[in-house]
Symmetry: C2
Subunit: 433 residues, 2 copies
């Protein structure tokens, strides 16, 4: 296909939901995009597994490549769009080939960016090329642009986000319908919201952690070793904890949090109790949201659809319009060669308030034993909940601590778990302001 | 002052809260900004009324201009920043002089942009210059960037925002403290949140309308005649309406709304009943927020500080960093010469649901008269509220309509107002989904 010489010519690797969405969006909004971008943006080449599959659009007239890496060498391609996924393999090969061929690279691949983003940025910047990745984090919410450009005048002290729609859908449904994790997960898998057979990338927090690593790299101008992140998923959240949260004025959300501490940067993904008064608490279902704290801007809160064909295609095409407009911004907001390795504070040094739930035999002396251990570790309580009395039976006791350290809480819980009246491993959920 | 040749040299007109904030921010974050912008950004020249006033920083070493327009001709100035305000007069003169002198122009002036933005853009684009105005709308929220770049792949169907922090503060305080408008306005004036002696720019909706006109121009790619906007302020909001709103599950907010209708574009600023479940409903105090609807992105919601030294300076400096990075985007997101005049739908053609409050003498037959008139105009009711009975005394009756047209509601209320048992002009507040 030979479009007008003044068009920006796109090669797309991966024609799944998002890749197909990009093709459809570029066709549907061709005139609008040409007016805004200053030139038409046209797909000239594609690569996918199956040429004959019905995708709702025709690939006739497009250069077809069985090997995605061949897109980089296609003389009719100015910009390579990678929507294959995976931190390594063809996605990484294609990124490197595109840069080597002198072509800018647009991706929605959070794993690739989280693992190899700093190295790819150095190569791209040496060659004067763009790597754009708005679609990698929070779908239709332009959080990369907000952080890298809109808040560029600020030192960012904290980024906290609901970054995985699958987890948020599961937690929301558990709360609204009083169902347990396994049940809702199975339903989410049927609906296509969670992967089958292994939903781990979502529910174990890995996907959210990839996105958090990207946001943190941008916010703090650092290179992050992904292996250093603290990552917990939502498998252990019980319906009991969800109803206690409600009673105490919290919502349980899987948060990705990046914040400056006295000693460095804390990077962590885990379920958190969020006070109902906070904007993040009322973000339900498949929606994503990010709260950013700038030293001059103050808090900036963004909310929108985190995934799906339309929102993700919107983000990919926004990057293409930027490129068509001639926008070149360092991949990580400053020259990649100047990124310092991140100094991460260990989770044991985390300070905060904690929600603790114990299942105990309802008998005299249990509470005295528990509170004595907490006292030994310098942990004071803000509140304590126990409903009704069932002498001799298992009952939940909920403790909410004042600010303390993760190390002390961990040590105290190890001891509490050994008490004969404590029947199962204590549940621990951090409270986030 | 002679900074390194590779710096971006800034001249600032107006050293009030925002101008002073920009000077302080550029000094405080100099290293960070140089790393992100690719070069230092330094203030070399200023203009203000009083050279000797203590502003918390020194103007020694800066070129001082008594006449702001002289900044445009200063050979040590690369970019002119206008923070004087006002649609005409020195602000407009300076904008024109800067463009004529071949210098990009950054402003926080919503009135200037709303009134003369299209004409200024044509001049700037002819000269290959930037006009940037992130600070003109919603302070620390980068909504201009989100709309013009982040959502550039979308047709925008609707923009709805809480765009004036003064009004939102007044409405929030009325609700939280059960006080009336005049009382809270006086307190807001003492706190410096509202102008003295004339708070009209804020409380009559003019400031919000300026911002709405800018957002609508960007969202729809049109030139807007500001005189065509429908603008109502908050002076007539009573504490009675605020408590009925609460009871019915709404919050009263001053909204600026721009939306595509079948016949054109509806642009209106007025108090609105917002369902508590909507993100805009829980934006309180001086915060601003904007809800954007893109056809591919879906809803995107932004919330942050709408005014004040830090947030507004953050927006001005983000624009300067964009310019230092070499970013050039058409002022209105597409070539200014291609902007079509907006076709606005008249308010009479508006369709929606309405909250109506009548003060009536509690006597038999009142409701029959009122509902007969509504029936004559084809208006059906979703609910009706009347508390207690006070025979012969004045009582409020609240009617919530199903969707109907502004013309029919207006005609019905004219007739209802003439009923002998209706004691004062009916209160009318539009319900926004």
């Amino acid at each position: 296909m030979t479009p007008p010489a003044s068009s920006l010519r796109i090669g797309i690797a991966g024609l799944g939901t998002v890749g197909g969405g990009v093709v459809k969006l570029l066709a549907a909004q061709a005139a609008l995009i040409a007016a805004r971008a200053g030139q038409p943006i046209v797909v000239t080449a594609v690569s996918a597994r199956d040429r004959t599959r019905d995708r709702g659009f025709s690939v006739e007239g497009l250069n077809w490549h069985d090997n995605p890496v061949a897109l980089a060498a296609d003389p009719n391609v100015d910009v390579v769009v990678e929507l294959i996924g995976g931190a390594d393999g063809p996605a990484k090969d294609l990124a490197e080939a595109a840069i080597a061929a002198g072509k800018s690279f647009v991706t929605g691949n959070k794993a690739l960016l989280a693992m190899h983003g700093a190295a790819l940025a150095i190569a791209a910047e040496k060659a004067g090329l763009v790597i754009a990745y708005e679609a990698a984090v929070a779908g239709g919410i332009p959080v990369i642009k907000v952080l890298r450009e809109g808040l560029a005048a600020n030192q960012i002290s904290r980024v906290a986000g609901i970054l995985n729609g699958t987890c948020n859908y599961i937690l929301t449904t558990m709360r609204e319908e009083g169902r347990d994790f396994a049940d809702v997960l199975a339903a989410a898998q049927e609906l296509g919201y969670a992967e089958k057979p292994d939903p781990g990338l979502d529910v174990d927090g890995i996907d959210a952690a990839h996105k958090l690593a990207i946001l943190a790299g941008l916010a703090f101008g650092v290179k992050i070793d992904f292996a250093d992140l603290h990552i917990e998923g939502i498998r252990r959240i019980s319906d009991l904890d969800i109803s206690f949260a409600q009673e105490l004025g919290y919502r349980i959300k899987l948060l990705g949090i990046a914040e400056r501490t006295g000693a460095g940067i804390s990077l962590r993904v885990h379920p958190a109790m969020v006070p109902l008064s906070r904007p993040l608490a009322s973000v339900d279902g498949v929606f994503n949201a990010v709260q950013l704290e700038g030293d001059f801007s103050g808090p900036v809160f963004l909310r929108g659809r985190g995934a799906g064909e339309g929102p993700t295609a919107s983000a990919v095409v926004a990057d293409l319009i930027d490129i068509a407009r001639g926008i070149k911004i360092p991949v990580w907001g400053q020259a990649a060669s100047t990124l310092a390795p991140a100094v991460l504070t260990p989770m044991a040094a985390h300070e905060g308030a904690y929600f603790i739930r114990l299942m105990v035999t309802d008998q005299p002396g249990v509470l005295a034993d528990v509170t004595a251990i907490l006292r030994d570790h310098g942990i004071s309580l803000e509140s304590m909940l126990q409903h009704g009395r069932k002498p001799g039976e298992a009952v939940p006791i909920v403790l909410v601590t004042h600010e303390t350290s993760e190390a002390e809480v961990g040590a105290a819980l190890l001891r509490i778990a050994t008490l004969p009246s404590v029947l199962e491993a204590p549940a621990l959920i951090r409270i986030e302001p």
